[in-house]
């Protein structure tokens, strides 16, 4: 075999891509040099999972329509050396200038290692905690304050529950999940402070049968409104609706799966976020290293309210949503105890949605039945 020089390799690749009808903009590197941009998206699961990955893929589809943007996507990429090589392959073979690794586990060490190796390429990661001085300047993280969406879910759950017991199917006890569980209960308790929330951890991000079993176990114990934080809520939604429980959705809009029982849902609106990144990149502006936003910024949205939502619930929901959109609302305000009796937020203290403390939450609040380990 003759050793392939970089030039002959480039020629083959260009010839190959031209034959496939792709644009000739694949070797774009710097935002200011050209307006054309190749953007790589990496998903940890299938991109049509009715959940986490679908929400990102829908966002990617939005920017696909923008002029001068080429999208390249890879799904089912594990959080191993595979994702490092996928990023490198997108850069070396497809000329990606901006990469969105969308799973939390891609951040450290995988994306950080690639960012140091390819300083001309921009990396923006979903969910990570980018730290100035510690992480490379060509990286950054973005995330949405979806906990407020779970709080609004909780308000609807609080009105819908008759047993005063609501249920949460969760994957793993990590801060993003714990914050959602706590927000869901606090929303429900804003309606009736006697409500409790039972949580069951499945231990995995995607495990269909166990998610169904967990939903059944919650309903057997009297929970009559269910929500979840797993990668694909489809199984939880369908199982809960089959048992007659109400559902609050997560990640994407699952109301088509159970139109009668679906109250509302906390959805990502990544299309807005990605569009903003692309516009900045094309204009040659800095992308920002720590990008966060909530309902008021259009990072997160609520599913349309379902037929099971009462007039009273609708009023409180609308009022709270309006208050959240002013930016003055705090879900976590003192005095607040965890479910072991320790004070976690002191009286008078209130965390705004962008409080960095919330991103390392390690407790379940009083009223949640479950354990963080």
């Amino acid at each position: 075999m003759t050793p392939m020089t970089r030039r002959s390799f480039l020629q083959t690749t260009v010839a190959g891509t031209a034959a496939l009808g792709l644009s000739n903009s694949l070797f774009y590197r710097s935002a200011s040099a050209q307006t054309a941009l190749t953007v790589g998206f990496i998903y940890v699961g299938p991109k049509d999972d009715y959940g986490y990955n679908q929400a990102h893929a829908e966002g990617a589809a939005v920017i696909k329509a923008l002029p001068g943007v080429t999208i390249i996507e890879e799904e089912n990429v594990p959080e191993t050396v595979d994702v490092q090589k996928t990023m490198e392959s997108m850069i070396n073979l497809d000329g990606a200038g901006l990469i969105f690794p969308t799973s939390f586990g891609y951040f450290d060490p995988h994306m950080l290692a690639m960012a140091e190796k390819y300083p001309d390429v921009q990396f923006r990661h979903c969910g990570g905690l980018w730290q100035e001085g510690k992480n490379p300047a060509n990286t950054g993280s973005y995330f949405g304050y979806i906990g407020q969406g779970q709080y609004l879910n909780g308000i609807n759950a609080g009105y819908a529950t008759k047993s005063k017991k609501i249920g949460f199917v969760a994957a793993k006890p990590i801060p993003q999940v714990l914050q959602n569980i706590n927000s869901f209960l606090l929303g429900a308790r804003s309606v009736d402070p006697t409500i409790t929330c039972q949580v069951i951890f499945t231990g995995e991000w995607s495990l269909a049968v166990k998610e169904a079993e967990a939903t059944n176990a919650l309903i057997d114990q009297g929970a009559d409104v269910i929500t979840c934080h797993v990668d694909s809520p489809k199984v939880v939604v369908e199982t809960a609706a089959g048992r007659g429980a109400f559902i609050c959705g997560y990640h994407a809009n699952q109301s088509p799966l159970a139109p009668e029982k679906y109250l509302t849902g906390a959805e990502w609106a990544w299309g807005n976020v990605y569009t903003d990144f692309i516009k900045k990149a094309q204009a040659g502006e800095p992308l920002g290293n720590f990008v966060r936003g909530g309902l008021k910024d259009g990072f997160v949205k609520m599913s349309p309210l379902g037929p099971g939502v009462s007039e009273e619930a609708r009023k409180k929901f609308d009022a709270t949503l309006a208050e959240i959109k002013t930016g003055t609302f705090s879900v976590f305000k003192g005095p607040l105890k965890d479910n072991k009796g320790a004070d976690v937020v002191t009286a008078g203290q209130a965390f705004a949605e962008d409080a960095i403390e919330l991103e390392s939450m390690a407790y379940l609040v009083e009223g949640v039945v479950g354990s963080t380990s």
């Binding site: 496939l20 890879e74 799904e75 939390f104 006890p173």
Partner: protein
């Protein structure tokens, strides 16, 4: 050892006369020619599938070449993916020489990784990196050896089928790993991905000089060579081959079958445990749920394709790594799903394993038949 005196053993290579060299070459050529023929036949079948789904196989194979081996970057990509498979392939191939089917190497990988990470925790900053890495490797190997050795132990002393027990042990190992990395070993700073405390950069097992491939590749290649030497040249390997052919005959010969079974399964687990250590020390920097990435299961395929020959594991693992490396490009350029590479791998494996039946059927590879017809 006395066994060798009892049984005639052919010399591997005799250079006394040119026809002996030719005969040796003919015997060596058989697996190479049959394997390559099988790969071509498998690719042909896969091409039909690709035509049926409306894509051009030519484009696909071009892209696979580009993505797997078409540039120095792609070659390194393939080698990086092959590295863990060398060790997990050995985890299946070694017991297979004794007739044992171990399918739970994944368990040894994850627990080996956890053991390595745990062993490093108290030593960071106390001992120099090189020594810590050696201790990590030993910890991972011991843990992996115990885990798979347990399947061998249960097989010999309790008659428990090793295929089932190793599979059950793998599920149990993954549960244990999750339990400790979200419990006692969890680094409180590992927010949304529970992990052990990460190794500092200078304690990481780096890349092979001049390459963007970590030392796992070199470790895996050395492990394959060492395993080959053990099986082909030592009395222990010789005894294992006899026991693998016929357990009763081996017992009548007075071979310590029990020790062989436990020893070979433990050695197999040692390699899988080492794969876990490399994953922690060279890739992840900590033990976390990504240790259960399926390397143990892919190792089963590697070993069966290599016909349980440790040296053949090297090209097979690189071939698999290359197919895997090209998968991304196929998704991005052709819009085919990620499962395309699974279909290709499945097709190739079925055809290659089917072609086992061709061994011994071609006169040109069998010097004994030359003489008979001459």
């Amino acid at each position: 050892m006395t066994i060798q005196a009892n049984l005639s053993s052919e010399p591997v290579l005799s250079t006394r006369n040119p026809s002996a060299v030719l005969e040796w070459l003919a015997r060596q050529a058989e697996p190479v020619v049959i394997s390559l023929g099988a790969i071509l036949a498998g690719l042909a079948l896969f091409s039909i599938f690709i035509v049926l789904v409306g894509k051009s196989p030519i484009d696909l194979f071009k892209l696979m070449y580009t993505g797997g081996f078409g540039s120095w970057f792609s070659i390194q990509n393939s080698l990086s993916r092959a590295a863990p498979l060398l060790l997990t392939g050995l985890c299946v191939a070694l017991p297979a020489r004794l007739g044992l089917v171990i399918i739970g190497g994944e368990g040894a990988v994850v627990l080996g990784g956890v053991a390595a990470a745990a062993a490093a925790l108290p030593l960071i900053g106390v001992l120099p990196p090189a020594i810590v890495l050696v201790i990590m490797a030993v910890a991972g190997m011991i843990m992996g050896g115990i885990w798979i050795g347990l399947a061998g132990l249960l097989r010999h002393y309790r008659g428990v089928n090793e295929t089932i027990s190793s599979l059950l042990l793998a599920y149990i190992a993954i549960a244990l790993m999750n339990h400790v990395i979200e419990g006692v070993l969890r680094d409180p700073a590992s927010l949304n991905k529970p992990s052990t405390t990460p190794l500092p950069a200078d304690y990481m097992l780096g890349n092979i000089p001049g390459m963007d491939v970590n030392w796992g590749l070199a470790i895996g290649v050395v492990a394959c060579i060492v395993s080959w030497i053990i099986i082909e040249t030592t009395s222990v390997g010789f005894a294992a081959r006899i026991a693998g052919g016929n357990v009763r005959a081996a017992q009548i010969q007075g071979l310590p079958v029990g020790q062989l079974i436990v020893g070979f399964t433990a050695l197999a687990g040692t390699f899988a445990g080492l794969a876990g250590m490399v994953e922690v020390a060279a890739v992840q920097g900590s033990a976390n749920a990504s240790l259960a990435a399926g390397y143990g299961y892919t190792g089963i395929l590697v070993a069966f394709l290599a016909r349980h020959n440790p040296l053949a594991i090297i090209p097979v693992a690189i071939l698999l790594g290359g197919i895997d490396a090209s998968g991304g490009l196929i998704q991005r350029r052709l819009g085919l799903p990620d499962a395309t590479v699974l279909v290709l791998q499945g097709t190739l494996f079925i055809v290659i394993l089917f072609c086992e039946t061709l061994y011994g059927r071609f006169k040109m590879f069998n010097p004994d038949l030359w003489k008979r017809s001459a």
